[in-house]
């Protein structure tokens, strides 16, 4: 239990036999529900203190992965190490290392927020006095101190989510799993949750965050794994991902009409990669800022009437699109 002391600052014992301190190591996880394959050999590693995103569309296998990592689902194949503990051999220690925030809100509606937190915290053998202090701190952190003695059933969806997250933090886990914690939530609560997450991250907690919102992944995650149909199709930092598949930002210029003459004129001054699609010019560039003005001047000199200009940045959405040929969100 000493390991878990300190205000959300995980005190991590180094993995002695590894040079790099991986907090979580997942090797070749396979899982199917009956005939339905959910995971087809998922592997990734998460360093301590890392904010790791698992990004994927509905049914990709995010919850399945989290369920396996949090010991409640047995994989058909594969190995998981959390901290220094093998998940299979030492599930008890793994459970004490992790905190889990489920996709669904799981609280006792008939009990107050305080009673709920008291109960969930007590399951981890936190001494009663410590627990009370931590509950007070946590309620403060989530802005619900004044409502703590109201029954959960009187809370709004966003407030319930906040308590749901708070209940997973009381034993001060080294690793926090969060499965789409912002689904169906008001902007105020979402921002509050984001603030708390950033704080926890800064304090050094390892966070595994699943989402199908690429904005969230881009905003918080140190590293991201993109998962689709039970397979990790890419992983790395945001920049690494943007470079996968040689994706470049592009400028799309729509003209009123394009004659072949104009096309060749434009072609001569445009360096680098480009292509015409009907009335649209796609120009791929590594520096939008300088290329954009050059492009506009060149086009007007060539006598082409510009109707619209669009800058297409590389983001997780386009990465996902280029990797799978489909939209992240349908």
């Amino acid at each position: 239990m000493e390991l878990l002391q300190g205000l959300f600052i995980p005190n991590i014992s180094p993995t002695l036999n590894d040079n790099i301190h991986f907090m979580i190591k997942v090797e070749n996880l396979k899982k199917s529900y009956g005939d339905v394959p959910a995971l087809n050999g998922v592997s990734f590693e998460i360093k301590e203190g890392e904010f790791f995103g698992l990004l994927g569309p509905n049914g990709a296998g995010k919850t399945t992965t989290i369920s396996i990592l949090s010991t409640i689902l047995e994989p058909n194949e594969g190995k998981v190490t959390i901290g220094t503990y093998d998940l299979k051999k030492d599930p008890g220690q793994c459970k004490r290392t992790i905190g889990v925030v489920t996709q669904e809100i799981a609280l006792y509606n008939k009990l107050s927020a305080y009673e709920n937190l008291m109960f969930w915290g007590s399951l981890y053998d936190v001494p009663a006095d410590d627990l009370k202090n931590r509950i007070a701190e946590t309620l403060q952190l989530f802005g619900l101190a004044d409502r703590q003695h109201d029954k959960i059933e009187t809370y709004s969806g966003g407030m319930k989510r906040r308590i749901n997250i708070a209940s997973a933090l009381l034993h001060r886990p080294k690793v926090l799993f969060m499965d789409e914690p912002t689904v169906g939530i008001d902007p105020q609560s979402r921002n509050l949750i984001f603030e708390v997450l950033e704080k926890l991250h800064k304090e050094g907690m390892t966070i595994v965050y699943t989402t199908h919102y690429m904005e969230e992944a881009e905003r918080f995650c140190d590293r991201i794994a993109i998962i689709d149909k039970g397979t990790i199709i890419a992983q790395g930092t945001l920049n690494e991902l943007k470079n996968t598949g040689g994706l470049k930002e592009s400028i799309a210029v729509t003209f009123l009409n394009l004659t072949d003459l104009v096309k060749t004129k434009i072609g001569t001054f445009l360096g680098g990669e480009f292509k015409f699609e009907e009335n649209v010019l796609h120009s791929y560039t590594s520096n939008v800022k300088t290329d954009l003005s050059r492009l506009i001047i060149g086009c007007s000199e060539a006598g082409a009437d510009i109707v619209n200009i669009e800058i297409q940045k590389v983001n997780l959405e386009t990465v996902f699109l280029s990797l799978t040929g489909k939209q992240l969100r349908d």
Binding site: K110, L111, L123
Partner: protein, 408 residues
């Protein structure tokens, strides 16, 4: 484990409907049933029972017995011939009759077993118990002396070989207590007169026992089924899954539920018996160890039922449906609504599959048959209840462990 139990109790107490159902609803029901079965504690106000008798001995002594019995306020004797009596009983018109055979007077003088016989309708054994207990004491008092006691017991056994063993014990206890004086194996020179006044053997009216025990068990089954359903509620709410993330072992979660179900069940039974004591004068102090044993055993069996139901059912709606069906059926055949003894014999035989039967009979043992805690018959019932609880809990654990895998 205990944390789970405490949390469950808190949840239970937060649920006003469940509280009401558990602790308040049974009270009007007991009242209703006890009125229906005429079960107020004061048996003296009861109408006299007609006792059909046949005096074949026709001596002074036998005549004396008839007169004495008739003089009792709870009995009114109606004399008839042996043939008529046998016809009546055979037709089911009458339940029983007491026959004083020839040689009664001589046997009394000689101190031999008395040729008395109670013939009764086999289907009405229960009423016989009531009658027997009223009769035995008085009969012996009029006929006899303390030295008759053992003979009377032997005689009773010989005459009624087919009698249910619990009934037999009850009657034995009755007979023994009516020989009274307390020290059965004590001084030989003890006065031979019966010293126990009728007042002292005022037992609880069977109607009251029936009303209290019957209602208590039935309502208990309903409320523990509700508690069991809380397991399914947790499943539907996702809190069960969340519990599985914690270091608690999955079985501890179920054990916690069992503990809270048992505690609530015991509290409910206790309150019902206290109520019956305060309001209806049920003499619960008569056999406190027995009562505690029965409350524990009944609570264990019933909570086992609730937990079992929760692990079989797939949803709360299903539990509710199953509860209503099973509890009502068990209560009906087990004697919660109508006393077992008024049911046809085949139904009485079926009753043994219900928790209600064993429990109600156990309470009869304590309050009406006045069996000691150590009586094998009573202990057997306690054992059956504990056994039922054990089996149901065991099955529940097995099913639960299988189901828990599909929760993630």
């Amino acid at each position: 484990m205990f944390k789970i139990a405490v949390k469950d109790l808190k949840l239970f107490m937060a649920d006003k409907r469940a509280m009401l159902l558990t602790f308040l609803l049974p009270i009007p029901l007991i009242t209703l049933f006890s009125l229906a079965f005429g079960g107020s504690g004061k048996s003296s106000e009861a109408r006299p029972t007609i006792l059909i008798m046949c005096d074949e001995d026709k001596t002074k002594a036998s005549h004396h017995i008839v007169e004495q019995l008739d003089s009792l306020k709870e009995i009114k004797v109606q004399l008839s011939s042996l043939d008529t009596i046998k016809r009546w009983i055979g037709n089911g018109d009458e339940d029983a009759a007491l026959i004083l055979h020839k040689g009664l007077s001589d046997s009394m003088d000689a101190g031999k077993p008395l040729p008395m016989e109670l013939i009764y309708d086999k289907a009405k054994e229960m009423q016989m118990g009531i009658l027997m207990s009223a009769l035995s004491g008085n009969l012996m008092r009029f006929a006899g002396t303390k030295s008759f006691e053992k003979k009377a017991l032997a005689n009773f056994d010989k005459q009624n070989p087919g009698m249910d063993s619990a009934m037999r014990e009850g009657v034995h206890a009755m007979i023994a207590s009516n020989f009274s004086g307390g020290s059965r194996d004590g001084g030989k020179d003890e006065p031979m007169l019966k010293a126990t006044p009728m007042e002292a053997q005022k037992e609880n009216s069977p109607g009251l026992v029936q009303a209290v025990a019957g209602t208590a068990v039935m309502m208990l089954l309903f409320s523990v089924a509700g508690l069991g359903a809380s397991l399914l509620q947790e499943r539907e709410d996702g809190t069960l899954k969340k519990l599985l993330f914690s270091p608690l072992s999955p079985s501890n979660i179920l054990f916690g539920k069992m503990i809270s179900a048992n505690l609530v069940a015991m509290a409910q039974l206790l309150i019902m018996f206290l109520f019956s004591w305060l309001v209806f004068g049920l003499n619960i102090k008569q056999n406190i160890p027995g009562l505690i044993l029965m409350i524990v055993a009944t609570a264990f069996a019933c909570s086992g039922f609730g937990i079992f139901l929760a692990s079989v059912a797939k949803s709360r709606a299903q539990v509710q449906g199953m509860t209503t069906l099973i509890v009502l059926t068990m209560s009906a055949i087990g004697g919660s609504m109508i006393p077992s003894f008024v049911m046809p014999a085949w139904m009485q035989h079926m009753a043994v599959v219900s928790v209600n039967y064993w429990s109600i009979q156990g309470f009869y043992d304590i309050f009406w048959r006045v069996l000691p805690v150590t009586s094998p018959v009573f202990l057997m019932r306690v054992a059956v209840l504990l056994g039922i609880g054990l089996v149901l809990n065991f099955l529940a654990v097995r099913l639960y462990k299988r189901n828990i895998k599909s929760i993630a």
